[in-house]
Each structure stands twice: as structure tokens, then as C-alpha cells.
Amino acid sequence: MMMEQFKQKYVEEVNDLLNDLEDTVLKLETDPSSQEGINQVFRVMHTIKGTAGMYDFKIVEKITHDVESIYGKIRDSSSAVSSSVSTLTLDCVDLIRRLLNNGEESQQEDVAVFFAKLQAVSSSNQQDNSTLEVQAEGFNQNAQNSEAVTYYVIFEPFADINDRGVNISGILSDIDSAGDGVIIPRFRSGESDKYNTYWEAIFSSTKPLEELNEIFLFVEDESRIVKIADRDLMKNSDFIAEVSRLQELEQNYIDTQQLIEFANNLFEQKPVEKVVEEPKHDVSAEEKIINRAVETADTKTSSIKVDSDKLDELMNLVSELVTTKAEMMLLLGKYNIPELSNLCEKVDRLSNRFKDNALSIRLVPIESMMLRFQRLVRDLSAELGKKIDFITEGTDTELDKTIIDNLSVPLMHIIRNSVDHGIESKERRLALKKPEHGVIKFTAFYSGNNVFIQVQDDGAGMDPEELRKKAIEKGFLKPSDNPTKRQLYELIFQPGFSTATKINSISGRGVGMDVVKQNIVKLRGEIEVDSEVDLGTITTIKLPFTLSIIDTLLVSIEKTLLLIPVYMIDSCTQISRRQLERDNGRFNYEDEPTTIIDLRKELEFKGKPPRQENVVIVRYKDMYVGLIVDRIVGEHQAVLKSLGKYFANQEYISGGSILGDGSIALVLDVNKLIKQMEKSDKKI
């Protein structure tokens, strides 16, 4: 069970590393001789390899080992990364992902294909002088016997060890699985008869000495086993600290005599004498271990990973705080205690800042998903034989994690469309006197309370006339209809309306723009397409910043409280019921006839309407719509709560929010409401 958890952690970690790696390889493609990039790949391979064996990912270990040596050679010879190597590396990334996620057994065919490719790439310089630096700080879970013995092992190979065909990593993994402990790799230079690396290990084991000796059967003269104590000391923190201390001393080997003495003292209950020889540096042992861990993993600690459940919990607490604050303000208004009002204002300010802060934690830059798009464009354009530059702008724009998570699939689809259908073939582009390279531009920016994302290509564009024909053919339009260009482009979001004339492995697999739109709408976003024949297509997505807190106007009909998002509201005005009835629902706003929706009627409220009605004017697309309500209560910062699965089909209410006094207000889904009206009433 424990092991499974560690394994899970390892897989997660490797997935992160692979994402970084992909990025690095793509950068290497533009600058193939970047030492930094090459080192980076080398290090990542090394790190993955280091622990793969421990979790029984033998194939991953082998793959990373081989790719590491390729990069090792490139590094040592200061040459550049060829395109075949970078492709191989990307293949390697994909393969490792599959191996880790699906298990090693399932991918045998892919593995064989990969190794064939690898063979081809590395055959040019095949003189394996692999620098083995397996740093296996492995802990074997099996040895938990009280009769365990603590050993010290030194394994110091001669220089010709590789020529003799001895498998160094095999010996190391044998040591690792012999017991519970640490293996410390050491490096040397200047001794020509010795191999450039040697290993010291300290571990506890229940295995008899003879069995341990068997590990070193072929390297007897190059190894030595020393018994430190007749018990398991690897769980003794004093002992571990002593090992670290001795290891850091500038000596070639750990002084076993000193270690044995230390171990003896430990169990004679004598107070441990102050060590005579002070460590060379002032850094404590723990710190060194941490430092080493940091170096090994090559992680940059500018960010930390947090379980998303914890973030959700934080958001819940914040929303409760905001609600409680509102409750307090309510009480203050009732009793008006001057001493308290100052304090309340402070709490108000603080909780606002706290709320903003907590929200910002959930915000993730769009950059975090760009990698897969870059990869998509690269792979797809190669497959289709097109040359495409993928330009990104404003990818530091931040969005709520939930939105980002749900955005990548629709965006993937849009970009795929641009590569596949947008950008024309090379020949066609040249014939049109367009540059050979197509351009797909990805732009993200803030505007007001929204984030906009645009995907623009300079490809063929969509012909509105063709769309019209197709729409009539498929029954979406009547031949007599005279739609605007915009309405025609809207059609591509209709289910069952696909413009793909040929179906290939990439586009037209049934998931159409209608699904893209559904996904965007679910995020309270909007999507729009514009196009110009032979100039290209631009898709614009408008999204809210966050899904959890919005500013709203609190209104009421009868006793029901409703919330209207402030960003949609233009203004509020009043109208008498009598005037409303006399004018038969016609209403002018800013001297323009404006559609009004009587929410009382629309939401089927019973009871008598008030004489004086309030009208909330909201913006919808490029027009105004008036919503009639009984009363306007005031502004409310709404922490949105889902109404739950029972109300998934509710047409006009998108959620609820709890007010200061504990009552529930319902969030009006203005867009859906108006759209519904549009459908049922063609006059709008």
C-alpha cells in the first residue's frame, strides 16, 4: 500500500518532468546546440532513470538510460541535437508516459519500435562508455526483521570493469535490494587503474553474510563488506546523522572504525561524546541531504504543488467568511455601534483582500497548457506536410484552474481545425502568392471582468456562400432565408453541421464545433467565429476570470430573491404597471425600442404585481433588454454555489448564493433566459 503511494507520487513527478522536457526539446529544435537545453534533457533522463528501477519500471529505466547516454555524448562532444535525436526524444517522452500510465506489459510493441529507432539513431557512435551514476537511495520494504545486521559495503571497481563485461548497475541494484539503506556514489580522478566512480553503501539486512558475498562474486577484489553492528541502525536518526557527517568529511572513504565505535556507544547508553573533528562546513547534515535532494531532482522551488482539494477547501472557507462578514455588516446596520463600525470596516477590507488572494491562488497562467498546443501544431503540420509557425501572445494571462482544465480540449479542437482545414497546402499557398509558412496566432488578454482568447490563422477561411448552401442542404436554413454573415458562421456551432469535406485521422472524428461551444458555455463563456475567404479565420472565446465569486445585484419578486451579475447590467429604471399594460409590453430605453422580459410572468410567480415596477437593463450581444422585477434590494457579492444535480435542467437559474441572514438567493442566468426568449419569440 505504502509502496503504491510512493509509486503514484513517482508517476506524478515524472509526468511533470516530462512536460518540462517536452518544452526543452521543442526549444532545442530552434537552437539545437544550446548547452543548457542539452544538459537539461540529460538531467531529466538521469532523474527519471534514478528511481525507475526502484518502482519496477525496468523498461523506463532502460529507455532513459539509453537516451541519457546519447545526450551525454552530444554534451561531451559539444555537438548539436539533430532533428532525428529530438524526434526520438519526443517519442521517448510519449512512450514513458504510456509505460507509466498503462503499465509496462501493455506497450511491448511500441517499446520494440522505439528501441529500433533508438538503435538507428545511436548506431553512428556506438562505443558504449556509459557513465553510470545510479544514485539509488533505495529502501527495501521487505527487511523488517529484528535480527537485522547493519553493514558497510565498499565497491571500488578497477578501470577495466566495463571491458570485463561486469554489469555495474546489476550489482548496485543487488546491494539496494539486499536491505534497507543508502548507496553513496563517489567520484575520483587521477587514478588510472581505478574506475572513475566507486560506491559506498550502508544498510541493514537480514540476509546472511554468505548471501551478501555472492553479490560480489565477480568483483571480490574490488569490494569489501564490514559489519557495523548486530542490529538495524538504519532507523536510528543519530546513526544516520553520523553517517552523513562522516560522508561529508573530505576523506575518500567513510571511516568504518569510527562508525563501529559510534554504533557501540549508541547502545551502551553512554552519552555520545562531542565529535572532536568538526564538520568542515557549518551546514547541518539534514540541510545537506535536502540540498542534495534538490540538486538531484533539479527542481526549482519557485512554486509548490498543492492538492486541489485543499484549494477547494480554502475557497469554501473564504466563501463562508464572506458570508459571515455580510451577516456582521447586516447586524451593524441594525444596531449602529460606532466603536464596532470601525472594526467591521477593517474586517470587511481584510476579508476582501483575503478573498482576492485566495482566488488568485487558483489562477493559473494559460502558458501551462501551451505546450501541448505547440506539440500538436508541430506533429500535425509534419504529418500533413505543411509549414506552420505557431505564435503565442499573452500566455501569462491567468485563469481559474477549473477553467484552464476544461479549456484545453476545446482549444485543441480549434487549433486542430486551423492546422487541418485552415492553413492550405504549400502548393496552394504559393499559388495564392501567400508566404509558404502558414501562421497560427494564439492570443490571450484581459478585458474588464473577462479573459479573451483568440486563435487566428492566415489560411483559407470559410466561404459564407458555401456555408449557406450546406445549411440549406442539411435543412438548417430555408432557401428563402437571408441570413447575415454572422448568422451563417453561427451555424458551424450547430450539432450535426460539419464543414469537413474529408475525414482524416485528425479532424472530423465526430466531435464537432457544437461540442466546443457546449464546453465553453459550461464555463459561462462565449465563442464567436469570423472569417474572410483566403485571408483566414479568427475564433474568439470570452471567459470569466473565475467561477466562484461574482458581483451581483440583488432583486426580488414576491419573496424570492434573485441575483443578476453586475457586469451585465447597464442601468436600472422604473416603470408603472399601468404604463406597461397600456403600451402592451413596448418599452423605450435611450429612445430606442427595447425588449422587456417580465420575470414575474416568465418564472411563473403567483400573486399581484406591484404598481411601480423596477426594470433592470442588461446588455445582451449588441442590444439592451429590460428585466422587470418587483424590487431592487442592493448589491451583493455572491459566492456561487451549485444547486446540485436535481436542478441540472433548470433553464433560468444557474446557481445560488447564501446571504448574510442565511437565506438563499438564486442567480439568474440572463443569457439563457434571453436566448430562450429569442427562440420562442422571433420578434427579438
Binding site: G644, Y646, Q650
Partner: protein
Amino acid sequence: MENNFSGSQPYLSFEIDGELYAYRISQVVEVIDMQKITVIPKTPAYIMGVINFRGDILPLIDIRKECGLDCEKNFDFKESVIIVLEINKDDLENRFFVGSIVNSVRDVIEVKPVDILPVPNFDNKINTEYTEGIFKYNDNFITILNIPAVFSIKKNTNKTDY
């Protein structure tokens, strides 16, 4: 997962319109007093509205309307209580809470599986698809309601989650 044939199981009995019913106690979260109900416009009749349950929004269900029982009388708001249930407890994706309004809560009763009988068909007060069985307690018959069947949201959302 819930079929424990060996030992007895606790059930919470309650009364609606003079009839006794019971919920498996493992799915009962707590029993709360009647709260201010917020009615949601344009929802089916069996959804009475939503209430504020510990800062979250809880749908409130009238199982009489859900299960096709006669319901001439409305609930007396002063007397009624709400049993909060957790549905699909073991399925994190589809787990949700719901409130069931009842006239009053009676006892927690340990019932052995052998004592649970099938609901007779002629007793057509309640559709048998909503029941798990019936047992006798202190000279009264108590109908065990099948919580997943009663609170299935399949028919409300046209989803085929179940």
C-alpha cells in the same frame, strides 16, 4: 456493498400521513428542524425548493409526490422535520446530499435480513420499485424505502448516470 446478509441493520423509521416508513441509517446524515424554504421557479412538484444546510444549498424533496403517494394535506411546517440523506456515498463523482421532508421521526430499529419481507403487491399505496421490503415492528408494518431508487435523478435530468 450494502448487502449484509449475516447481521442486522439499523433503520430510521419515520411517519408521513400516518404511514410508517424507514431509511437505511447508513445513508442518513442527520435530522434537522424545518427551515425557511427557497422555492425554485419552474421545477417539478416533488422538489419543494432548497434550504441552507450548513452553508450549502440542499434540495428538499417531498417523497410523496416523487413516489406517487396520495398527498391531499400539505406538510405542517411547524411540525415537520427534514432527514438529510447522502446519496451515492461511495461514488465521489455522483455523491450528493438531499433533504427528505417527513411529518416526524420515530425510532432507530435493528432489523435482521430474515425479518424483511417483500412488499405485497395488493398494497398499492406505494409503487414497489421505490421499496426494499417491509417489516413488522410493535404491531405496525414499516416500509423500507429504496433510497437510490427514490432519489435517482435520472428522470429529472434525462441523464443516464445510473
